[in-house]
Symmetry: C2
Subunit: 229 residues, 2 copies
Amino acid sequence: MTTVATASRREPLSRERVLREAIRLADDGGIDALTMRRLAQQLGVEPMSIYYHVRGKDAVVTGALDLVFEDVARRAAAATTPPPSSWREHLRARILAAREVLVQHPWAPRALESRGTMTPAFAAWVDTNVAVMRSGGLSWDLIHHAMHTLGSRQFGFSQELILDDPQGADGEPDPTAAAELGRLMPNVQAMLRDVVHDDEVGTLGWCDDRTEFEFALDILLEGLERRAG
Amino acid sequence: MTTVATASRREPLSRERVLREAIRLADDGGIDALTMRRLAQQLGVEPMSIYYHVRGKDAVVTGALDLVFEDVARRAAAATTPPPSSWREHLRARILAAREVLVQHPWAPRALESRGTMTPAFAAWVDTNVAVMRSGGLSWDLIHHAMHTLGSRQFGFSQELILDDPQGADGEPDPTAAAELGRLMPNVQAMLRDVVHDDEVGTLGWCDDRTEFEFALDILLEGLERRAG
DNA sequence: ACCTGAACACCGTTCAAGT
DNA sequence: ACCTGAACACCGTTCAAGT
């Protein structure tokens, strides 16, 4: 419903327009769906036209990531006004805000990791996290450990593995696959039987939902706080 | 110095030989260096010959991952005979053993994540981790949380970001990049000045070394143990 | 049973050219 | 200033064919 919802080839190309469309492509079809040629097609333009506005594919991905992290920063700022009184609550709120945004762009964490790239918005994000801990009185040394400890979680996501889904590709429950699970992972199967809701049985409960995310985050924050005091 | 060190086109192709060479390619040049065409060339064979032994590129990567996790299992078994008395020490030893192997194959964690794929050896790895916790008396529910909490760390790696390296590409220290760091990340810079050794100044200390890995791992295990007791 | 060759549908990107 | 077209060096894979 926005002005660029359909690729009306009216307005001229621009860096911003290229990057926004790149985000949409990756959101819809995963990072592999983001190719220069498809991007051009989506923008109603020849592939090479993009290169006038952006240096190459690398710059497209980096630029898209930067836009996403601008969004993260905005959301975090909103979630922390007025600022929580403890560093722990402050950091916690920031990280959960990041998560809310990045859940919308599942390709972004992976792209960030696999490129190890720095963008201004991302740099600012990390730096503010450090500042929050520092003004909470943590030593530089502990802050350094904390950065490692929180790892990618400080960027609002945890690495989850989607394991075999015993549902067949057609969506039908696959008894063969369930048996296969029991053969390969008897203990995991026992765990799932106990933990997972009935209507989820057959699917591995590898769900990166907010509860699990907070469970781990709180253990980490608790451990850091203990070492700070 | 092994028999297959140089691609002597003497011995016939085999699934095993294909997968071993795939691991070597990825180890040397990263996952992007692993292409079917290069793999064939390395094996002294035409690209299409590989398809007789392996279904396609996906199967190559999956198969290579499986071999790596067989190695992980061997290393972990050796590190836990005789088995440590507490579940916490047992799990800890397994995870650190996994790390030792996966540090040699940095592409493997990423490939595992980005494909969300299951292989027999990997399934067995996860399942045994569950078994260790269960025989330590943890509830299924807590074990389930634990799997989420440990996340990719239970596979021996943590997600680390290699941030901008202020060294220029030619290896010369780049004062512009250092200034850039200070501008974008003043707090991070302050932290690094305090924490990082002198000869590392200018480089971000985002080092996934064993100390940092254990620091975080122990916080997590400690938090889980507290919730178990 | 095992390997090949030609061909297809894709990539990102360079370079010279159009308006 | 902004966009295009042809071309190049790569991909993974299908399919029919060789030995």
